[in-house]
Protein backbone atom coordinates (compact mmCIF):
# COMPACT_ATOMS: atom_id res chain seq x y z
CA UNK A 1 0.00 0.00 0.00
CA UNK A 2 1.19 3.48 -0.76
CA UNK A 3 -0.45 6.63 0.47
CA UNK A 4 -2.16 8.38 -2.40
CA UNK A 5 -2.03 11.92 -1.08
CA UNK A 6 0.69 13.93 0.55
CA UNK A 7 0.78 17.07 2.62
CA UNK A 8 2.52 19.56 0.36
CA UNK A 9 1.85 22.76 2.31
CA UNK A 10 5.23 23.81 3.74
CA UNK A 11 3.55 25.98 6.40
CA UNK A 12 1.45 23.08 7.76
CA UNK A 13 2.23 21.83 11.25
CA UNK A 14 4.62 18.87 11.54
CA UNK A 15 4.77 18.04 15.23
CA UNK A 16 2.69 18.17 18.34
CA UNK A 17 4.63 18.74 21.54
CA UNK A 18 3.90 17.36 24.99
CA UNK A 19 5.16 15.30 27.88
CA UNK A 20 4.18 12.28 29.95
CA UNK A 21 4.08 14.02 33.30
CA UNK A 22 3.47 11.90 36.42
CA UNK A 23 5.37 11.71 39.70
CA UNK A 24 6.18 8.56 41.64
CA UNK A 25 6.37 7.43 45.22
CA UNK A 26 8.06 4.05 45.36
CA UNK A 27 7.74 2.30 48.73
CA UNK A 28 11.17 0.77 49.34
CA UNK A 29 9.48 -2.58 49.98
CA UNK A 30 9.47 -4.97 52.91
CA UNK A 31 13.16 -5.83 52.62
CA UNK A 32 14.10 -2.37 51.36
CA UNK A 33 12.38 -0.63 54.26
CA UNK A 34 14.35 -2.70 56.77
CA UNK A 35 17.58 -2.07 54.85
CA UNK A 36 17.16 1.70 54.67
CA UNK A 37 15.87 2.05 58.23
CA UNK A 38 19.03 0.26 59.40
CA UNK A 39 21.20 2.69 57.43
CA UNK A 40 19.36 5.63 59.01
CA UNK A 41 20.57 4.46 62.45
CA UNK A 42 23.90 2.74 61.68
CA UNK A 43 27.06 3.08 59.64
CA UNK A 44 26.76 -0.46 58.34
CA UNK A 45 24.53 -2.42 55.94
CA UNK A 46 22.22 -5.43 56.19
CA UNK A 47 22.26 -8.53 54.01
CA UNK A 48 20.19 -11.75 53.88
CA UNK A 49 21.48 -15.30 53.65
CA UNK A 50 19.71 -18.01 51.66
CA UNK A 51 19.93 -21.35 53.47
CA UNK A 52 19.38 -23.31 50.28
CA UNK A 53 22.18 -21.95 48.05
CA UNK A 54 24.19 -20.33 50.83
CA UNK A 55 24.44 -17.00 49.01
CA UNK A 56 24.50 -13.82 51.03
CA UNK A 57 22.09 -11.63 49.08
CA UNK A 58 22.85 -7.93 48.88
CA UNK A 59 20.90 -5.66 48.76
CA UNK A 60 18.88 -7.83 51.15
CA UNK A 61 15.74 -9.47 49.82
CA UNK A 62 12.55 -11.02 51.09
CA UNK A 63 13.30 -14.09 48.95
CA UNK A 64 16.12 -15.77 47.04
CA UNK A 65 15.36 -15.37 43.32
CA UNK A 66 17.29 -18.52 42.41
CA UNK A 67 15.89 -20.94 45.00
CA UNK A 68 12.59 -19.08 45.23
CA UNK A 69 12.22 -19.48 48.96
CA UNK A 70 11.43 -16.87 51.57
CA UNK A 71 14.36 -15.69 53.71
CA UNK A 72 13.60 -16.26 57.42
CA UNK A 73 13.95 -13.42 59.91
CA UNK A 74 17.01 -14.96 61.60
CA UNK A 75 18.96 -14.92 58.31
CA UNK A 76 19.30 -11.13 58.31
CA UNK A 77 22.88 -10.11 59.11
CA UNK A 78 24.90 -6.95 59.54
CA UNK A 79 27.77 -6.34 57.09
CA UNK A 80 30.28 -3.49 56.93
CA UNK A 81 29.62 -0.54 54.62
CA UNK A 82 32.79 -1.37 52.74
CA UNK A 83 33.69 -3.12 49.55
CA UNK A 84 35.90 -3.59 46.53
CA UNK A 85 35.45 -1.96 43.13
CA UNK A 86 34.58 -4.59 40.53
CA UNK A 87 33.83 -2.30 37.58
CA UNK A 88 33.96 1.43 37.02
CA UNK A 89 33.48 4.12 34.41
CA UNK A 90 34.22 7.83 34.33
CA UNK A 91 31.33 10.03 33.19
CA UNK A 92 32.19 13.40 31.69
CA UNK A 93 28.69 14.35 30.47
CA UNK A 94 25.43 14.46 32.40
CA UNK A 95 22.19 12.73 31.42
CA UNK A 96 21.30 15.63 29.10
CA UNK A 97 24.66 15.47 27.31
CA UNK A 98 26.07 18.57 29.05
CA UNK A 99 29.66 18.61 30.28
CA UNK A 100 30.00 17.91 34.00
CA UNK A 101 32.10 20.39 36.03
CA UNK A 102 34.07 17.44 37.45
CA UNK A 103 34.34 13.94 36.00
CA UNK A 104 32.10 11.51 37.90
CA UNK A 105 33.55 8.10 38.76
CA UNK A 106 30.72 5.54 38.80
CA UNK A 107 31.56 2.10 40.18
CA UNK A 108 29.99 -1.25 40.89
CA UNK A 109 31.18 -2.17 44.35
CA UNK A 110 31.25 -5.75 45.67
CA UNK A 111 30.09 -5.41 49.28
CA UNK A 112 32.25 -7.21 51.85
CA UNK A 113 30.95 -10.51 53.28
CA UNK A 114 28.18 -10.67 50.68
CA UNK A 115 27.62 -12.02 47.18
CA UNK A 116 26.05 -8.75 46.09
CA UNK A 117 27.09 -5.34 44.83
CA UNK A 118 25.92 -1.74 44.76
CA UNK A 119 26.40 1.15 42.34
CA UNK A 120 28.08 4.21 43.78
CA UNK A 121 30.15 7.31 43.06
CA UNK A 122 33.82 7.23 44.06
CA UNK A 123 35.28 10.36 45.61
CA UNK A 124 38.70 10.97 44.07
CA UNK A 125 40.53 13.82 42.36
CA UNK A 126 42.34 11.40 40.10
CA UNK A 127 39.84 10.30 37.46
CA UNK A 128 42.59 8.89 35.24
CA UNK A 129 43.62 5.97 37.47
CA UNK A 130 42.40 2.38 37.35
CA UNK A 131 39.98 1.85 40.25
CA UNK A 132 39.49 -1.87 39.66
CA UNK A 133 40.08 -3.70 42.93
CA UNK A 134 40.22 -0.48 44.97
CA UNK A 135 38.97 -0.75 48.56
CA UNK A 136 36.19 1.73 49.36
CA UNK A 137 34.03 2.73 52.32
CA UNK A 138 30.57 4.33 52.14
CA UNK A 139 30.48 8.02 53.04
CA UNK A 140 27.07 8.40 54.66
CA UNK A 141 25.15 11.59 55.36
CA UNK A 142 25.20 12.83 58.96
CA UNK A 143 22.73 10.66 60.90
CA UNK A 144 20.22 13.43 61.49
CA UNK A 145 20.05 14.13 57.73
CA UNK A 146 19.43 10.55 56.64
CA UNK A 147 16.04 9.99 55.01
CA UNK A 148 15.93 6.30 54.14
CA UNK A 149 16.87 6.37 50.46
CA UNK A 150 19.97 5.55 48.45
CA UNK A 151 20.89 9.24 48.68
CA UNK A 152 21.94 8.59 52.29
CA UNK A 153 25.12 7.19 50.70
CA UNK A 154 26.73 10.42 49.48
CA UNK A 155 29.65 8.67 47.79
CA UNK A 156 32.47 6.19 48.48
CA UNK A 157 35.87 7.08 49.93
CA UNK A 158 39.00 5.21 48.98
CA UNK A 159 40.38 3.38 52.01
Amino acid sequence: MTFLEKQTDPTAPLHWRGNMQADYLYPNGVAGDKFFKHIMQNDSFLATKCDECGKVLFPPRLYCEDCFIEIPEENWMEVPAEGTVRLFTVAKLNAHGKKLPEPKIMAMIDIDKTDGALLGVIKSNDSERDFTGARVRANLRPKDAREGTLKDIVNWNLI
Partner: protein, 180 residues
Protein backbone atom coordinates in the same frame (compact mmCIF):
# COMPACT_ATOMS: atom_id res chain seq x y z
CA UNK B 1 -27.16 -37.24 65.25
CA UNK B 2 -26.76 -34.08 63.23
CA UNK B 3 -24.77 -34.78 60.09
CA UNK B 4 -22.92 -31.53 59.63
CA UNK B 5 -21.18 -30.77 56.39
CA UNK B 6 -17.53 -30.11 57.06
CA UNK B 7 -16.63 -26.44 56.54
CA UNK B 8 -14.28 -26.29 53.55
CA UNK B 9 -11.44 -23.78 53.58
CA UNK B 10 -11.84 -20.63 51.50
CA UNK B 11 -9.16 -20.11 48.85
CA UNK B 12 -6.96 -18.16 48.76
CA UNK B 13 -6.29 -19.43 52.28
CA UNK B 14 -4.37 -16.31 53.23
CA UNK B 15 -3.84 -12.84 51.77
CA UNK B 16 -0.20 -11.76 51.96
CA UNK B 17 0.65 -8.08 51.76
CA UNK B 18 1.12 -5.07 54.03
CA UNK B 19 -1.38 -2.25 53.72
CA UNK B 20 0.16 1.24 53.78
CA UNK B 21 -2.07 4.18 54.61
CA UNK B 22 -1.49 7.75 53.45
CA UNK B 23 -0.83 8.64 57.09
CA UNK B 24 1.96 6.00 57.23
CA UNK B 25 3.71 7.93 54.48
CA UNK B 26 3.02 11.34 56.01
CA UNK B 27 4.29 10.14 59.40
CA UNK B 28 7.31 8.48 57.75
CA UNK B 29 6.43 5.06 59.14
CA UNK B 30 7.76 3.54 55.93
CA UNK B 31 10.69 4.65 53.83
CA UNK B 32 10.16 5.44 50.16
CA UNK B 33 11.89 6.93 47.17
CA UNK B 34 10.40 9.89 45.29
CA UNK B 35 10.96 10.55 41.60
CA UNK B 36 9.80 13.21 39.19
CA UNK B 37 10.63 12.08 35.68
CA UNK B 38 11.14 14.73 33.04
CA UNK B 39 10.64 13.64 29.48
CA UNK B 40 9.48 15.77 26.59
CA UNK B 41 8.07 14.56 23.30
CA UNK B 42 7.53 15.90 19.81
CA UNK B 43 5.05 13.58 18.14
CA UNK B 44 5.16 13.58 14.34
CA UNK B 45 1.78 14.41 12.88
CA UNK B 46 2.08 12.52 9.61
CA UNK B 47 0.40 13.63 6.40
CA UNK B 48 -3.24 13.21 7.32
CA UNK B 49 -3.12 14.78 10.76
CA UNK B 50 -0.97 17.65 9.51
CA UNK B 51 -3.59 18.42 6.87
CA UNK B 52 -6.42 18.12 9.41
CA UNK B 53 -4.77 20.52 11.87
CA UNK B 54 -3.95 22.92 9.06
CA UNK B 55 -7.63 22.78 8.14
CA UNK B 56 -8.67 23.59 11.73
CA UNK B 57 -6.34 26.58 11.63
CA UNK B 58 -8.24 27.77 8.57
CA UNK B 59 -11.58 27.18 10.29
CA UNK B 60 -12.41 24.00 8.35
CA UNK B 61 -13.14 20.44 9.40
CA UNK B 62 -11.58 18.17 6.76
CA UNK B 63 -12.51 14.57 6.03
CA UNK B 64 -11.12 11.99 3.64
CA UNK B 65 -12.74 9.08 1.76
CA UNK B 66 -12.22 5.37 1.72
CA UNK B 67 -14.16 4.60 -1.44
CA UNK B 68 -13.77 0.87 -1.02
CA UNK B 69 -15.53 0.81 2.38
CA UNK B 70 -17.78 3.74 1.51
CA UNK B 71 -16.54 5.86 4.40
CA UNK B 72 -16.04 9.61 4.70
CA UNK B 73 -13.63 9.60 7.59
CA UNK B 74 -13.06 12.20 10.28
CA UNK B 75 -10.61 12.51 11.99
CA UNK B 76 -8.85 11.76 8.71
CA UNK B 77 -6.02 9.28 8.37
CA UNK B 78 -3.76 8.13 5.55
CA UNK B 79 -5.25 4.64 5.48
CA UNK B 80 -8.54 2.94 6.30
CA UNK B 81 -8.09 0.67 9.31
CA UNK B 82 -10.67 -1.83 8.04
CA UNK B 83 -9.61 -2.54 4.43
CA UNK B 84 -6.05 -1.30 5.00
CA UNK B 85 -6.17 0.62 1.72
CA UNK B 86 -5.05 4.23 1.26
CA UNK B 87 -7.58 7.03 1.69
CA UNK B 88 -8.13 9.75 -0.94
CA UNK B 89 -10.26 12.76 -1.95
CA UNK B 90 -10.23 15.26 0.86
CA UNK B 91 -13.36 17.33 1.44
CA UNK B 92 -14.35 20.16 3.71
CA UNK B 93 -17.23 19.14 6.00
CA UNK B 94 -19.86 21.40 7.51
CA UNK B 95 -19.02 22.14 11.13
CA UNK B 96 -22.30 20.73 12.41
CA UNK B 97 -23.12 17.40 13.98
CA UNK B 98 -25.10 15.38 16.48
CA UNK B 99 -24.17 14.49 20.05
CA UNK B 100 -23.45 10.73 19.98
CA UNK B 101 -22.71 10.55 23.70
CA UNK B 102 -21.59 12.89 26.47
CA UNK B 103 -20.66 13.25 30.12
CA UNK B 104 -21.01 15.97 32.73
CA UNK B 105 -17.67 15.85 34.52
CA UNK B 106 -16.91 17.04 38.04
CA UNK B 107 -13.32 15.76 37.73
CA UNK B 108 -10.29 17.50 36.29
CA UNK B 109 -7.57 15.52 34.47
CA UNK B 110 -5.85 14.57 37.75
CA UNK B 111 -9.09 13.38 39.33
CA UNK B 112 -9.44 16.54 41.44
CA UNK B 113 -12.95 17.74 42.10
CA UNK B 114 -14.23 20.83 40.29
CA UNK B 115 -17.34 22.85 41.08
CA UNK B 116 -18.40 23.94 37.61
CA UNK B 117 -18.83 20.75 35.55
CA UNK B 118 -17.22 20.24 32.15
CA UNK B 119 -19.58 19.14 29.36
CA UNK B 120 -17.71 16.72 27.12
CA UNK B 121 -18.74 14.20 24.49
CA UNK B 122 -18.46 12.74 21.02
CA UNK B 123 -19.84 14.70 18.06
CA UNK B 124 -20.86 12.70 15.02
CA UNK B 125 -20.16 15.14 12.17
CA UNK B 126 -23.20 15.56 9.90
CA UNK B 127 -21.68 14.96 6.49
CA UNK B 128 -19.30 12.17 7.53
CA UNK B 129 -20.31 8.51 7.35
CA UNK B 130 -21.05 5.82 8.41
CA UNK B 131 -22.32 7.08 11.78
CA UNK B 132 -20.97 7.57 14.33
CA UNK B 133 -18.10 9.38 12.62
CA UNK B 134 -16.52 12.26 14.48
CA UNK B 135 -14.40 13.27 17.45
CA UNK B 136 -14.45 14.25 21.11
CA UNK B 137 -14.94 17.87 22.14
CA UNK B 138 -16.45 20.20 24.71
CA UNK B 139 -19.98 21.59 24.68
CA UNK B 140 -20.96 25.14 25.61
CA UNK B 141 -23.88 27.58 25.58
CA UNK B 142 -26.07 24.82 27.03
CA UNK B 143 -26.75 23.66 30.56
CA UNK B 144 -26.19 20.19 32.00
CA UNK B 145 -29.95 19.79 32.00
CA UNK B 146 -30.33 20.69 28.33
CA UNK B 147 -27.59 18.48 26.90
CA UNK B 148 -28.82 15.17 25.44
CA UNK B 149 -27.85 12.44 23.03
CA UNK B 150 -29.16 13.31 19.58
CA UNK B 151 -28.84 17.09 20.13
CA UNK B 152 -27.84 19.03 17.00
CA UNK B 153 -24.69 21.09 17.52
CA UNK B 154 -22.38 23.49 15.68
CA UNK B 155 -18.72 24.35 16.22
CA UNK B 156 -17.74 27.62 17.87
CA UNK B 157 -14.32 28.62 16.54
CA UNK B 158 -11.58 30.68 18.11
CA UNK B 159 -10.91 34.00 16.33
CA UNK B 160 -8.70 33.39 13.30
CA UNK B 161 -5.63 35.10 14.79
CA UNK B 162 -5.75 32.82 17.85
CA UNK B 163 -5.92 29.55 15.92
CA UNK B 164 -2.74 27.52 15.91
CA UNK B 165 -3.48 24.22 14.19
CA UNK B 166 -4.95 22.37 17.15
CA UNK B 167 -8.13 20.54 18.12
CA UNK B 168 -8.56 23.51 20.48
CA UNK B 169 -9.01 25.86 17.49
CA UNK B 170 -12.62 24.83 18.00
CA UNK B 171 -13.63 26.25 21.40
CA UNK B 172 -16.63 23.97 21.83
CA UNK B 173 -19.85 22.89 20.13
CA UNK B 174 -23.03 24.86 20.85
CA UNK B 175 -26.68 24.01 20.20
CA UNK B 176 -27.57 24.48 16.54
CA UNK B 177 -30.22 27.15 16.84
CA UNK B 178 -33.20 27.52 14.51
CA UNK B 179 -32.52 29.24 11.19
CA UNK B 180 -28.82 28.34 11.05
Amino acid sequence: MENRKEEKPTYPKYAPGTHVRTSDIRDKKITYTWWEPEIQYAWSLGNAMSKFLQGLKEGKILGVHCHKCNRLIVPPRSFCEYCYGPTEDWVELKDTGTINTYSVSYLDPNANRIEEPILIGVISIDEAYPKPMGFMHYFGEMSKDEIHIGMKVKAVWKPEDEREGSINDIKYFKPLGGGE
